[in-house]
């Protein structure tokens, strides 16, 4: 190879994190982090739900299938759920889902549940940064490609994932 050719520098892998935040605590905390100008890793995309009890395991699986390298679920602290029991239901489902994900070769650090109160903007910042760093070390989630179904890309609600590793 001639010496004047510069090889492209491999870009650092930028993980994508889908975050499901409950409206009453964690999402408010995210807002607070924004208002307080607490900068955190831009790798996290937040989806607001009314309660962590709304997070169905299917949502997490769909996020991973559509290209997320990690999923964060945020809910109110135990005892603080606006709907009383939602976060407990979330905790139960999360634990079972995690057992299944281990069998499927999806590492523990990729799917995480955190209780974050409305006042804990700094915790949103800390966890977003922490998770981003962990996922950078782990690298992209390598799921098997899903085959087309009846000649069409699988299930219309799951559009093809854009190429991995691009900066968000």
């Amino acid at each position: 190879m001639s010496s004047n050719v510069t090889l492209p520098v491999a870009k650092e892998f930028e993980p994508r994190i889908v975050a499901f935040f409950c409206n009453w605590c964690t999402y408010t905390a995210g807002d607070l982090a924004g208002a307080a100008r607490l900068a955190y890793a831009p790798n996290m995309r937040v989806i607001r739900l009314m309660c962590s009890g709304r997070v169905d395991p299917e949502f997490v699986l769909a996020a991973l299938r559509q290209g997320a390298d990690g999923v964060l679920i945020g809910g109110c602290h135990p005892g603080d759920c606006h709907y009383r029991e939602g976060n407990y239901k979330c905790l139960r489902r999360f634990q079972l889902l995690c057992k299944f994900l281990r069998q499927m070769g999806v590492e523990e650090q990729r799917v995480r549940l955190e209780w974050i109160a409305a006042s804990e903007g700094d915790k949103v910042q800390k966890i977003a940064n922490e998770m981003t760093a962990q996922l950078k070390l782990l690298g992209p989630l390598r799921l098997q490609i899903t085959p087309r179904v009846n000649g069409r890309p699988r299930a219309a609600e799951c559009p093809p994932a854009p190429t991995k590793g691009v900066a968000p």
Binding site: L61, Q144, R154
Partner: protein, 330 residues
């Protein structure tokens, strides 16, 4: 007028689906009076060349049971798709990947290694593996090649209808045949079974409390099962809440919990995800450690909640180093 021609073929399956045809009993006479079987390798002597000789679309309908996991099965699926006007995925393996689909928890290499090297009953000092083609004194012989993953039929060729179940309930087969013969078929892509959860109208549903909570998941081979009471209310993992009805509560009536062979209702996009959601939320604890302890008796979530459908699930197969493509097939 000549009778409509029908085919019935098997891929990666156990033969139970053929058994379900035999279970038609006397009704099989009505079937053979109404249609001509032109391909049915398990029961009748037809060869692949007979199918190849048919005109495209010559068969009014063809049912394929079994998952697709080899080059030969892929080729047969494509051939039969061409020759049949209506292609029906018959049974859980063809519909969702079925029990053979659990092979997607492993990669091809480790499956071959287990079978041809590691099992205690394997004697294979030369470490001989199946080869796509081998020279013998008489010439070249060929073997089908095992695919990297197990697929459902619709992941290989377009499918018109699905008859679910492991094996499909006889009534569903009868209804499907009647619908084909009268041309009264639902929109393409439909599962030919009721679109309602098994729990609806289950004979034991009245004994299922509205605010059901479970202290311990019991395993059916270790406990006595009350023959009257809702199985879930007794703590057995009955997948009725997530499973499509249409089997006549076969397992429930035999005092066994439903394991989900009919697959999901049409609103579900991941059967196991829906089943895990329904079941886990019933755990009667709010304490992290206690919940973990209660879930301990669910030793194999993949085998429990995706027993009949890992290939059709969102994750499709175990993530791994050799899976560097990600996403979807374009």
């Amino acid at each position: 007028m000549s009778k409509p021609k029908v085919g019935f073929y098997w891929c990666a399956s156990c033969g139970g689906c053929e058994e379900s045809v035999v279970d038609l009993a006397e009704a099989i006479l009505d079937v053979t009076a109404a249609v001509d079987f032109v391909f049915f390798p398990v029961a009748m002597d037809f060869k692949r060349s007979d199918v190849e000789a048919m005109a495209d679309g010559a068969m009014a309908a063809c049912m394929i049971n079994g998952a697709i996991r080899s080059s030969e099965q892929r080729a047969m699926a494509k051939l039969l798709r061409r020759k049949a006007q209506i292609l029906i995925a018959y049974g859980a393996c063809s519909h969702q990947g079925g029990i053979p689909g659990l092979a997607n928890l492993f990669d091809r290499q480790s499956i071959l290694q287990t079978v041809y090297r590691d099992t205690p009953s394997t004697v294979n000092p030369g470490d001989i593996r199946p080869e796509a083609s081998t020279r013998i004194p008489h010439g070249e012989v060929e073997l089908p090649v095992l695919d990297e993953q197990v697929k459902s039929l619709d992941q290989v060729v377009p499918v018109d209808y699905y008859i679910p179940g492991c094996a499909p309930p006889v009534q569903l087969l009868k209804d499907a045949l009647a619908a084909i013969l009268t041309g009264r078929l639902p929109p393409k892509g439909s599962v030919l079974a009721p679109d309602k959860a098994l729990c609806e109208q289950c004979p034991r549903a009245p004994s299922k409390p509205d605010n059901l909570l479970i202290d311990q998941f019991k395993r059916p081979h270790l406990e006595r099962i009350d023959p009257e009471k809702c199985l879930l209310a007794q703590g057995f993992l009955c997948l009725g809440p997530a499973t499509r009805g249409g089997c006549g509560w076969a397992c429930i009536n035999a005092n066994m919990p439903c394991t989900g062979c009919l697959g999901p209702v049409s609103r579900t996009r991941d059967y196991g995800g829906a089943a895990m959601s329904a079941l886990a939320s019933l755990v009667n604890s709010n304490d992290e450690a206690q919940i973990a302890a209660m879930l301990e008796t669910i030793v194999d979530p993949a085998g429990t909640f995706y027993r009949y459908g890992l290939p059709a699930s969102l994750l499709f197969a175990r993530a791994g180093a050799n899976a560097d493509k990600g996403g979807h097939e374009p």
